[in-house]
Every structure is written in C-alpha cells, then in structure tokens.
C-alpha cells in the first residue's frame, strides 16, 4: 500500500496516519556526533568524585556530601527484585564524567557553543535557539490565544550546554539553570532541598547518583508565581562507555505552578550504557508541578544488543496542604527500565497523579510504576498505567498505594491495563495495596488482553493495513494518558507509540 493511498483516505485521523508513516525510520535518534570529548578515567572512587566536584567548581560542602554518599554506596548491594534480567554491570568500567571539549570554557551565549553540538540538537529536533518557539498555539482559559513558549535546558553527556529564556524567566522570579550552576549561585536553596526528597541512602542507584552526578536541572518557582512558560530539559548520551547521572531538583514554593518536560535520546551503540538519574520535586502549600517525560533512550537492536540501562529514582514530596503533582511518562526507549516516580502526599488535601505508557518491543524490559504514600488527610491519588508489550519484551507494572493511619478520608483509584502483541512477550502487574484506616478508599483494577480481533477486523475491512491498524488501536488504548501530556509532547508521544511497535505484527 502506498503512502498516497493513506492520504486519500478520509475518516482516518491524520495524526495517526502521519505517525504510522514514520514507521520505516526505526530509531531516528541513533546517530552519534563526533565531538571531541574530555573523559575522566574509568571507574568510581573518592578521587573521581573529587574530580567531578572540582570540574563543577563546587564548594567543599558539596564535595563532602558526595563523598559520604560514595561511602554508603560502597556498602550497598545492587537490588535484584525487579523483573528484569541483564548481565552484571561493572561499575568500574564506566566513565563517570564526559564533557564536550568545546565546553571547557563556559560559552557566554549559544553562539559560542560548538556548532556540532547544535547540529546534534538540530537533528534531535530540539528548539535550542531562541527563535524556535514551538509550534502549537494554546487557547487560554479566557479564550484569548497566546503564543506558547518553552524554556530549554540541554544536558549533553555529563554537562549542561545551554539554557534558554533565562532573562525572561528571571523577570518572573523563576530560577531555571543547571544544577552545577545552582550549587554555585544558590547554595542556600540547594542545601535546603537537595537530598530532602530522595535521601542519599535511598537506594543503590540513587546513592551512586548522589556521589557522581555531573549535572542536571534546577528550578525554583517563588511563592505565588505561575511559571510563564513550560520548562524543558533534553538529555542526550553521546559518548561511548559513559554513564549519565543527572540530578534534577524542582521546588514549587507556596501557591506556584510549573510544568516541566523532559526528553531523552541516545546514539545507537552495541554496548549497554548506564543512566541513573534522580529527580526530586518539592511542592509547598497550594503549589502544583506537572512533570512530563518522553523517554526515548536507545532501546537496543532487534536482537537485544546494546541499549540504555535506565535506573531512575523520581519522587515528589507534597509538603504543604493542597499541593498537587502530576507525573506523566511515555516510556518507549531503554533496554532495561527501572523507574517508579512516586508521590509523598504529606500535606492535607494534597493530590498525586500518575499517568504512564510503557511500551516494550523486541527484547526490551521495563519494570515501572509508582508509589502513592498517603500521609495527610483527604489526600487523593490516581494511577493510570498502560503497558504494551510486543516481540520478546517483558513489561511489568509495580506500584504501591499506602494509606497511613492518619490519612483519613483519602482516596485512590488505580487502573493498569496491559496489552500483549504476539505470544512471546509478557505483561505483569505487581501492585501493593496497604490500607491502615477505614475512612479511606482504595480501588485497584487491572486487565490484560491482546489487540481485539474484532477491532482489527473492523480496521481491515475499511482497508487499513495491519501495522496501521495496530498503531490506531494502541493509540486508542493509550488515549487516557496521551491526553494528560502537554500538547507538543502528545504529538511526539503519539508518533513514538507507532514507531516503537514497528515490526511487531505480521
């Protein structure tokens, strides 16, 4: 069937057709850029930690903090409870610091950034330059149309290469910069919040991250400020044999609001690369954070060779009353994903939401889910998780909903649905439900099924091909989650859904 046919057909959602058309492209972010890099020697030890700290010009308290984390990490054992299998990782065979050479002197403006770097971002389709204001016009609440702007922080291997819209944000009082800069410029804020949501000793990967994190983003939204634009970070692993360890810290002070987008890509390599990030969100009284991720790290080839190991710790702490957090994630990449964005609902009437699509194809493995810890009264949480498994992939939802004795009148609703495409893949659900008071209500439901034959037949009947039809059905299956994404991301995610499933049918 030719593409022109596709266009002529009416009644089919153009976006879906568009998405399906890109199917032939495979992993389009698989290129690598040949940039001169500066590496730290392989391995992790106190010297490396000191070196990273020195490279980032950090004050001594930060170096000490890292060293104490390293000390703890050396005593920890790698967890093995997740339903994922991978060969043992040699943590001493990884570069813990890699930086494009052209970044040695911090660029004063984007014009000074290595054009090759910009080229990379160009290929990634990231609007790093100011003039690129993402398409898509949003209709405001009052019906007026306003142009939507997105401020971007880009992290290339270990370092942040540029943050846009700084001045405009500054005028609103919002601090958006790389975390290394924040450590230097806003030590009080960093000291107060860093490690307060994900403590140093939280888990194996978070502790390693605390010791060796190289860069990341930092956002502080002052009281009562509604961040004027969406903030966005693009993470890119480029160099071979490097690990990426970034740390994101977002603080929404009383009554503020911020929406944050995160995107990730990596080149096609035969060896596995490690990514262990930590994201901490602090939400004070009446504040709200919307955190959206489109994770598209290189998933490895059809035979499961290569790909990123994605071991991420993300947690939001709703400290004040009526604080609100919303995690939305589209997980299509990575060879192995181990990720549980969580919400601690400490404030009374605080709210946590988690929307997730996890797609695994070929030999990908994902063990992902969320934790909703209800501590305050009248807290609410909602979990919608859609797992899609194709090829030889294994997809696991693992979650916790916990109502503490004091979390009176709290409410949770969980729905996790799995879709299986093919008979060699697996879909698993492992929820933990803990209710310790009687005025709270928890509801959990999960279903597992395959792409409905009737729906497929209906599509075929109308002349829609196999892959197209599956993409259409899967997009429908994911609709609840896609709708929760910011508009620009929703489009990208929809396309990704189709690309990720390429070759899984027929």
């Amino acid at each position: 069937m030719s593409n022109t046919d596709t266009y002529e057909r009416e009644g089919v959602d153009q976006d879906t057709v568009e998405a399906v058309r890109t199917v032939g492209q495979k992993y389009k972010y698989g290129f690598s850029t040949d940039i001169e890099m500066e590496y730290a020697p392989k391995g992790v030890n106190a010297d490396i930690v000191k070196l990273i700290s020195k490279k980032n010009d950090e004050p001594s308290w930060m170096t000490d903090w890292r060293l104490s984390a390293l000390k703890r990490w050396e005593k920890l054992v790698e967890p093995n409870w997740a339903m994922v299998n991978y060969p043992e990782i040699d943590f001493q065979d990884i570069h813990y610091y890699a930086k494009p050479k052209s970044m040695e002197k911090k660029p004063k403006s984007l014009a000074e950034v290595d054009p090759k770097l910009l080229e990379t971002y160009e290929k990634l389709g990231i609007p790093l330059k100011e003039q690129i204001i993402l398409a898509g016009v949003e209709v405001g609440v009052d019906g007026t149309q306003e142009q939507r702007k997105v401020a971007v922080d880009a992290v290339f291997d270990s370092v942040s290469v540029g943050t846009t819209f700084k001045t405009e944000l500054k005028a609103a009082g919002v601090i958006f910069c790389s975390i290394s800069e924040a450590i230097r410029e806003y030590p009080d804020l960093v000291k107060k919040y860093l490690g307060s949501v994900v403590p140093q000793s939280d888990n194996y990967y978070a502790t390693l991250n605390a010791a060796v994190f190289t860069d990341g983003s930092f956002v502080y939204v002052p009281p009562g400020v509604r961040c004027p634009m969406e903030l966005s970070t693009y993470f890119r692993i480029n160099a071979e044999n490097t690990g990426q360890f970034e740390r994101t810290l977002i603080i929404a002070d009383k009554g503020s609001y911020v929406s944050y987008l995160e995107g990730c890509t990596a080149p096609q390599r035969d060896t596995n690369q490690l990514h262990a990030a930590v994201v901490e969100l602090v939400i004070e009284e009446d504040a709200e954070i919307k955190y959206s991720t489109v994770q598209n790290w290189y998933p490895g080839d059809e035979n499961g060779k290569g790909g990123i190991y994605n071991f991420v710790t993300k947690r939001a702490d709703c400290r004040g009353d009526r604080a609100k957090v919303m995690w939305t994630q589209v997980e299509t990449g990575s060879a192995v994903t181990w990720k549980y964005p969580s919400c601690i609902l400490r404030g009374n009437e605080s709210q946590g939401e988690f929307y997730s699509i996890a797609i695994t194809n070929n030999h990908q493995q994902a063990d992902t889910g969320t934790k909703m810890v209800h501590l305050g009264q009248n807290t609410k949480s909602r979990i919608v998780s859609k797992g899609i498994s194709a090829g030889f992939a294994q997809n696991t939802y693992r979650g916790l909903v916990s109502m503490h004795p004091k979390a009176k009148k709290s409410r949770n609703f969980t729905q996790c649905d799995s879709l299986l495409i093919g008979d060699k893949c697996g879909a698993h659900t492992i929820p933990y439900i803990e209710c310790k008071n009687n005025s709270s209500r928890i509801e959990h439901e999960a279903t597992t099924s395959k792409v409905d034959d009737d729906q497929l037949f209906y599509c075929h009947q109308r002349g829609i091909g196999e892959e197209e039809a599956v993409a259409l059905i899967v997009n429908g299956f994911c609709k609840d989650v896609l709708q929760a994404l910011p508009m620009e991301f929703a489009m990208e995610a929809q396309a990704l859904v189709a690309i990720s499933l390429e070759g899984s049918v027929g």
Partner: protein, 425 residues
C-alpha cells in the same frame, strides 16, 4: 536470631520417623531443602506483611483459652466423619472407613508400607511448589508430620468426607499432612472443621486426575489465640475441576497458602475465602495459581471483614505460562474495615506470558457504604442490624463459591453468630 540458627533449633525439636524407604526419601529431601533455605523471616518479601515468627518458634504456644471443645460445624450434614484429636487420629470417634470407592489410611500406617499408592504422591507437590518462592514451613511439614490421611477416591462419592479436628490440650503444637488422589472420573467433597491445635501446620496435597472433581470446604476454629499455617497444593489434569472455600473466624495469626497447578486443558479452579476477625486478628491468604495449559479457568474471591486492630493480608498471583492461550483468570480481594484501627494489605499479582487471554484482578478496601446504611436505617432497620446485613452481603460473593446450599447456610449462620457476639463485646 539468625535464620539458620533458628532453623536448626526448630529441626532439632523434631525427629524423623522410621518408615518405608520411599517415605524416608521424601522426608529427607524436604529436610534437606529446609536446612539449605532456612525458615522464613520478616525480611523475606514473601513474608512482608505477616510475621512468621509465630510459626517458626520452638516455644510452646501460649496457653489457649479455648472457649469450648466444639463439635463439628458440619454435625447435621450426612457425612463420613473422621476425627483428629490434638493432631492424632482418633479411631473410636471416627466413622467406619471401609467404603466403596474410598481408600483411606492414616499416613502413619501408609508410610510404613513398601507398596502403598501414596508412595508416588507424598511430598511431591510440596517439593514442586518450592520454586519460585520457598515455602519452607511446608517442607518442615513434609519432613516431620506423622499424622494425616492418605485418601484415594476411585468413584463418585455422594457423602462428603468430613475431617473434624478436636482440640483439647490447650498448648498443643501439631503437624498434619494429607495426601488426596481423586482418580479419573471420580469426585469427592472434603469438609474440614475445627481448631486443630493452639499452633498448627496443616498441609494437603491434592491430585485431581482427568475429569475428576474436588470440592473442599474448610472452617477454621474460633479461638482468638489460635496460630495456624496451612498449605493446599493442588494439581489438576485435563477436564478436571476443583473448588476450595475457607472460612476463618478469629485467631492470632493465620496464614493460608494455596498453590494450584493447572496441568491439563479445560480445567477449572475456584478458590474462595471469607475471613472475619477482631482483637489482634491477623489473617493472610497467599495464593499462586499457575496456568500451564490452554483453555483453563481460575477464580479467586477473597473477602475480609476487619475490626478492632485486625489485619487482613492478601497475596494472590496468577501466572499464565507461554502457550496457555484462552486462559480466563480472575481475582478479587476486598477488605471491609469496621473501625479505624484495622489494616488491609493486598498484593494482587499477574504474570502473563501468553497473549490471547482474559486476565483481570481487582482489589478494594474501605468502610461500610454510608449511603447504603442510611437507606436501610431510613426504612426502620436498626443500625446494628443494617450493618450486619451489609457485612453479610459483602461476604456473600465469596460464600457463593461453595456449591452445596446446606453448607452455604451453615457458613452463613457462623458469620451471623460472629456478628451477634461482636455487638455484645
């Protein structure tokens, strides 16, 4: 106390009986597994919500204030009655065991014989159920249990076989091991009732052959101090079916484990349970249903009513293996909390490797629906009665899993009884 140390102490408190070589072989293999893996402890993920130390300890169980030595709840049902007193078979109180289509021996007799049918079955399912999760309390049972029944059913049996556990010694600690084989086209109903002992570890291995039916209803005793761990291992062949329902009322720590292996096409396994309790009641249902063949059906319906600091635990897992297409798996676990001190902890799990299946699970917990309560009271029904009605209605889904109507009535009246006592306390 370290895991191995505790295990060694526990093992040394028992001794291996002298039996036929096949029995010794099974027991040694279980003992070996127990020695290498050790008894469970709180750090095991599998024992996250229930404290295994109640079952592990070598201390004599605390003196039980047994309300009374009660007769079987199934007294008025026409049945074949077999009585165990404090863990030992009591022939004088039991009915005649020589009946057509039934072969019954106690394992203390069967395990002495060189050529007993149970030679190929004793400890077999317990052993195969040790992966992926270790169940070493079951190994302990296989290694050291000297009492229990070996029942072989060769025909369709109309009268249920009722096993009554009398409990007279208030610090008893017993192990009981049953092996049941239901031959091709045969069927049987097994009823279990009574408190067994202050601390008990009961195990039942059930082999359901082609086109056979196994019906099982168990009512655990009412003592508040009771400590019990049970294992039900079942293996289902083609076109067979099993149903098992357990009622738990009160107890200090009760853990009921079920491992069902569906090894033939078109088989059905239904598991149900109702648990009600208060005052430090801790009840745990841990279930593993494995679908190894296509076209099978499984149901798990478990309901718990909790009050006054009670804890209800549910860990249920459905595994659908590669190739087990057209599986229909369903699981529901619900907790109803009558006051603010209780807790309900659930882990409903699905692990699925086949695509053409319908599998779902649901889990809810909360208090009595105030709107329903208001509706009933506004129609002149007193508050307490309205609550009871709603509690019974809540438990009814599980009770309906029992096929026999007269047994359903008996179970219902036991629950009503619990609720009446609740209003008094």
């Amino acid at each position: 106390m370290p895991k191995t140390n505790l295990t060694e102490q526990k093992i040394s408190s028992y001794s291996l009986p002298t039996e036929a070589s096949w029995a010794i072989k099974s027991r040694k293999s279980a003992l070996n597994w127990l020695e290498t893996t050790g008894l469970p402890n709180r750090r095991d993920e599998y024992w996250k919500n229930t404290d295994p130390s109640y079952f592990n300890t070598i201390k004599k169980p605390e003196r039980n204030k047994i309300d009374y030595v009660e007769n079987s709840i199934f007294e008025n049902i026409d049945r074949i009655n077999i009585v165990f007193e404090d863990g030992y078979f009591n022939a004088s109180k039991s009915d005649e065991l020589l009946l057509k289509g039934i072969e019954i021996d106690t394992i203390s007799v069967a395990n002495q014989k060189d050529n007993h049918w149970s030679a190929n079955y004793f400890g077999v399912l317990e052993k195969s159920s040790q992966v992926p999760v270790e169940r070493t309390l079951a190994s302990l049972n296989t290694a050291f249990a000297v009492e229990g029944l070996a029942i072989r059913i060769t025909d369709k049996i109309d009268k249920p076989i009722s096993i009554t556990y009398l409990h007279t010694n208030d610090t008893s600690d017993v192990l009981i091991h049953h092996v049941i084989k239901i031959e091709k086209n045969a069927s049987v109903t097994i009823l279990e009732s009574g408190g067994v002992a202050s601390r008990s570890n009961c195990l039942m291995e059930v082999f359901v052959c082609e086109n056979a039916e196994f019906d099982h209803v168990r009512v655990q005793g009412r003592s508040h101090e009771k400590i019990a761990v049970t294992h039900l291992f079942a293996n289902l062949l083609k076109d067979s079916s099993m149903k098992s329902f357990t009622l738990t009322v009160n107890g200090k720590s009760i853990r009921n484990e079920y491992v069902v292996d569906i090894n033939g096409e078109n088989s059905k396994a239904h598991l149900g349970g109702a648990a009600v309790g208060d005052r430090g009641f801790s009840q745990d249902d841990t279930i593993f249903v494995s679908h190894n063949n296509p076209n099978c059906e499984s149901r798990q319906v478990f309901k718990k009513v909790l009050r006054n600091g009670a804890k209800g635990v549910f860990q249920g897992k459905i595994l659908v293996k590669d190739g087990a297409q057209k599986t229909d798996g369903y699981q529901i676990s619900q907790g109803l909390m009558l006051d603010d001190d209780s807790s309900f902890l659930a882990k409903p799990e699905l692990e699925i490797y086949a695509d053409d299946v319908i599998c779902s699970h649901g889990s809810t917990c909360g208090e009595i629906d105030n709107a329903a309560l208001f509706y009933l009271t506004s129609r002149g029904i007193p508050m307490a009665e309205a609550q009871d009605m709603l509690v019974l209605a809540f438990l009814n889904d599980a009770i309906e899993e029992i096929s026999d109507e007269s047994i359903r009535t008996i179970i219902g009246s036991r629950l009503k009884d619990w609720m009446v006592k609740r209003h008094k306390s």
